[in-house]
Symmetry: C2
Subunit: 317 residues, 2 copies
């Protein structure tokens, strides 16, 4: 008798939830007896086809557990066609036991993890940033348009502004800043910083890596770094208030702010002040749970929930 | 008797000048009798090694002409180590007849083409932008730090700002703008614009391609497009005035503005006004010649010229 047969007979799997971000893919398998098994895989590569990456993770878990879950839920970074991905996952031979797939963008699972089924806005600001607003009737997405044309206030945005400020100080267009020492640690000859960065295969992450030091220098009183962090906070607040307005959320709606950028106390407090200037009654709430909790919640959300318009929910015929 | 022997005996080549830009590589071969032969090759790829690309062009011309020029001069986009490139070119077996190589960044040949040996500032603004200032004692470079951390006011900078403004109008953060129709011609579904742009192998050129339409809409009175163009003009003016100040150029120094961005009358006039606000006596001058003329001029520049510090000038031992 194989281990997998034992496992299936003992505890059939109810749900496999996947939170697929660029930094890591987190998974949770829930069995019929209520026990859960969490796992972590390497992050999703958003410039390659998503399906093989998601399928490989799901198949690996099903293989190990020896049981296919009735429901598979996914929140995926970079997902642009949830319907197509959900249907394609149901077609994978190794996932034949799955009866239902619910797929959505990771901004939705992030929202559900932070606010659950409450109305409000969640700003998730890491290397990129995406904001989701949910009101009684509908939900809206604000920004999350990537490092070239969007992601205002994100880690990339802050790092890019820091590099720009360093080069302005270097050629005489801008004031001196302690950011220069930070950037020189990476590129001692500033003349060569830009060709080396442009030739790098990891440009986005490299640029965003300067955000943390920028926040530290801002807290230490560097004017240039402080200006960048305050501008970032205002961009994040604009996204939050815009999402509340566009989603027609109630005046006392909840606001959640998650992600590495909010690790800066300066950015967090400027963000709160800027949101309150526009929305005095907004309630800032700590996250109820993680994006993985949000992926679990996907399975149980009512058919009338305003976020349902952002899901693909596919059942086997 | 071969054609090349005939050619060499009749008219030995004095000079081969190369202006190697990203759009095209322009060459001029000057023979002892004063006649010149111009040619055009595909543009230099700045994310690949430069030497093979430059050597191939020079070798092809030497082969066709049947005579190696005494002097080879080059202005090269993306050049970061002129000394190494110049020495390596002298080592190529097929360029054995060349006695001297002068190599520099294309911002230097652009300056020489526009202002010749006068003091002043040249702003060259196309997809990217680089500004050079020359005073009696020394020369300075301002910006030209590439599309990620620099190139303020360039075609890329304008196009990126236009895309950002379109997405802000789309998600409710910003005012409506006619730029939206332009961007929708390329990406009818704006939700998909950013993943498609990020996956493109021609991102920089694609972004910069929106600059021309932005200038047209600005001239037509679109407020958002107008704001972007005025901001760009101020960035370009800041680079010009900074370069004059850092190079300690005289008050009545010449200012040259070249490149596609200055094809916008709005940008050109805002640029002039902003430079004059800081430098009332600056003289705006039309270009004396092209970047290729500047590459030719490289060969004859005196040893005391302030731009000499930006050259590699290598002679065969």
């Amino acid at each position: 008798m194989s281990a997998s047969t034992t496992s299936t007979e003992a505890h059939p799997a109810e749900l496999l939830a996947i939170d697929a971000g660029q930094t890591g893919i987190k998974t949770r398998l829930r069995l019929a007896d209520g026990t859960t098994h969490d796992d972590l895989f390497a992050g999703v590569l958003t410039d390659r086809p998503l399906l093989p990456q998601l399928a490989e993770v799901a198949e690996s878990i099903v293989r190990t557990a020896g049981t296919a879950p009735a429901t598979l839920t996914l929140g995926v970074s970079g997902l642009t066609d949830a319907q197509a991905e959900a249907e394609a996952l149901l077609q994978r031979p190794d996932l034949a036991g799955i009866l239902r797939v619910v797929a959505t963008h990771d901004s939705v699972t992030s929202f559900l993890g932070v606010l659950g089924d409450r109305f409000g806005s969640v700003v998730a600001a890491g290397t990129g940033v995406v904001t989701l607003g949910v009101g009684p009737q509908h939900s809206v997405r604000v920004d999350g348009w990537g490092h070239i044309m969007g992601d205002a206030g994100s880690g990339y945005w802050i790092g890019r502004a820091a590099l720009d400020a360093v080069m302005r100080a270097y050629d005489g267009r801008g004031p001196a800043t302690a950011l220069t020492d930070i950037v020189r640690e990476r590129w001692p000859d500033l003349d060569l910083a830009y060709p080396q960065l442009q030739a790098s295969h990891d440009r986005v992450r490299t640029v965003a890596s300067f955000a943390a030091a920028t926040a530290v220098l801002a807290a230490d009183g560097d004017d240039v770094a402080g200006g960048i962090c305050r501008d970032a906070a205002r961009e994040l607040a604009l996204a939050a208030t815009t999402s509340l307005r566009m989603a027609e959320a109630p005046g006392d709606a909840a606001v959640g702010a998650v992600g590495g950028v909010f690790g800066s106390e300066l950015i967090r407090s400027e963000f709160t002040a800027a949101v309150n200037a526009e929305r005095p009654d907004a309630r800032f709430v700590p996250p109820m749970g993680s994006g993985l909790d949000g992926a679990v919640a996907l399975a149980g959300l009512g058919a009338q929930h305003p976020l349902r318009e952002r899901f693909a929910d596919v059942r086997r015929a």
